[in-house]
Symmetry: C2
Subunit: 317 residues, 2 copies
């Protein structure tokens, strides 16, 4: 299934120490208004306030600072036109090493500009998985750069687990913790942290109805990879990673699906009540709570608001 060792809680602890000089310990926010609407006590981990605007910086930073000096000097490479690309570029900059990002033709120009602004070298390829992997392999061969996969790399998964760790430390005991699910890196890291720090806390994944490969994989008990995503949640269109599938199954993470309309309503509610710019791929976690009120009624619920990289070019002003 997969060959890299699965990360354990010790790896999350080590990641926390490793990224502490570089990453923000983001605040945990509350809203009386949203609590009243949801009928439970919500504790929002505000990762839009993380460097580069998303939790992705945690895993990328842990990977970059896990390298020995010789490997680091050769740089890192990944394929992502989204938050992971920017996060890895900024993490590489914190260590002063090269970062290569393979991006598909047709990716949103504003996102590519953001990745370049963090100092990464862009490599363009055709918009399909074969071209992407071939280009990555070529960059690795040409430069000796180390591949940092967005959600299957165990260093990345361990780094993502630090968000939940901080949330438990700040908010105290939680009955449930809800995170968005795309490739599964955040959900996996969260599950590892929760089992060690709060074994009574249930971990839930929120996944778009239009990209429900994780929901299907867990339901069928086999890794589903053949699907065509159709969702506004651009951060959640990727395919669940193989090690993530194993980790989510092993940790009994429950995944529930959410329609885009409910995600947008939750996003507007977060903007209105918390004044925090969250992207749809984050708001889906609150939408999942609001769509399953009976599951969370009266409980203390943590929600990881994963990022705030909204496409501002879509705004009317």
């Amino acid at each position: 299934m997969q060959t890299a060792p699965q990360p354990a809680f010790e790896d999350v602890l080590a990641a926390a120490a490793r990224i502490a000089p570089h990453a923000h310990a983001t605040p945990v926010l509350r809203s009386r208004g949203i609590d009243a609407i949801a009928g439970c006590s919500l504790h929002f981990k505000a990762e839009p306030l993380q460097r580069a605007g998303a939790f992705k910086f945690r895993g990328a930073c842990n990977a970059v600072w896990s390298l020995d000096d010789a490997a680091a000097a050769r740089g890192v490479v990944t394929h992502s036109s989204g938050n992971h690309g920017g996060a890895l570029a900024l993490a590489a900059r914190t260590r002063g090493i090269p970062c290569h990002v393979v991006v598909p033709e047709g990716a949103v120009a504003a996102k590519l500009a953001a990745i370049e602004a963090y100092g990464a070298i862009l490599h363009r390829c055709a918009p399909n998985i074969q071209a992407r992997e071939a280009k990555c392999a070529q960059v690795q061969a040409d430069t000796g750069a180390e591949l940092v996969h967005p959600y299957t790399d165990p260093r990345v998964i361990a780094g993502q687990g630090t968000a939940a760790m901080e949330l438990f430390n700040a908010a105290g005991a939680l009955d449930a913790l809800v995170v968005p699910v795309g490739g599964g890196g955040l959900a996996s890291g969260t599950a590892i942290a929760a089992r060690a720090l709060a074994p009574e806390c249930r971990v839930f994944g929120a996944e778009p109805s239009g990209a429900a490969d994780t929901f299907e994989s867990l339901r069928r008990g086999e890794h589903v990879t053949d699907f065509v995503p159709d969702t506004i949640c651009d951060g959640l269109r990727g395919t669940l990673g193989a090690p993530d599938f194993e980790l989510l199954r092993e940790h009994h993470v429950e995944v529930l699906t959410v329609d885009d309309a409910d995600t947008i309503a939750a996003m507007r509610l977060l903007w209105q009540r918390m004044k925090l710019l969250v992207e749809p791929s984050s708001a889906i976690a609150l939408a999942m709570v609001l769509g399953n009120r009976e599951r969370f009624a009266g409980k203390r619920v943590g929600v990881i608001l994963s990022g705030g990289n909204v496409d501002l070019d879509a705004l009317p002003w």
Copy 2:
């Protein structure tokens, strides 16, 4: 010119103690990215995170909790379809007293719904100053409610000064402090606090080019009231108050004007880099700094981001 006594720093101190149990001490936020763009060290007071989403809650809360029990029981009244209306309604709710808000026909439905959601009683009138004042007088006569004017009431001005007080306490010495100017309540309260706490700190007002009555009033040395506002900054369309004019002149507050296009660019920058939902009437303060870089180069500059009540119905989603 005006009969109410002008507020002094003692009144700001008293306001701080009075509102402490009800208002948030909002955080002071930084952004490396925006500092680099501006060429100075910026300290943003995040009033979008204040209750009811704007600094207006400070002044309203101070006014409501300044009333003796008999007056309080009769309630409060104001005319405002914007942030002050919502702020006074919520402040009245913290004391459990009635709040009447006179609103013009044609006001944005979403804003009126927000004011009503805080428990206020709405009174509609024709959209002109005569009808508004007549309706206010009628409500006062009918109910005995106390008028709390949005920016000429000395209790309101003193309350608004608590934002700058908190900013100085959190950020330390500042060379300059920039606030938006509409009716002048925030600028007046800020000037009073700055003179007492940081006499070396210059206070600047940022005003829309399309509603530059304060700029004109200070330039001419006489209170200009005949103008027709034309700006996206809906919180800054009002006319400078008479006591505010005196206070700004007396405290040598310098007002600079900003075009709406620059305000919108600053708003997008704040959304992108700080993930804080600020409204145009707040972003204007950063726009003023960016448009006058030479004035602020290398300095420690405070900026009061006054509110975050963006019209979400204008969003494309």
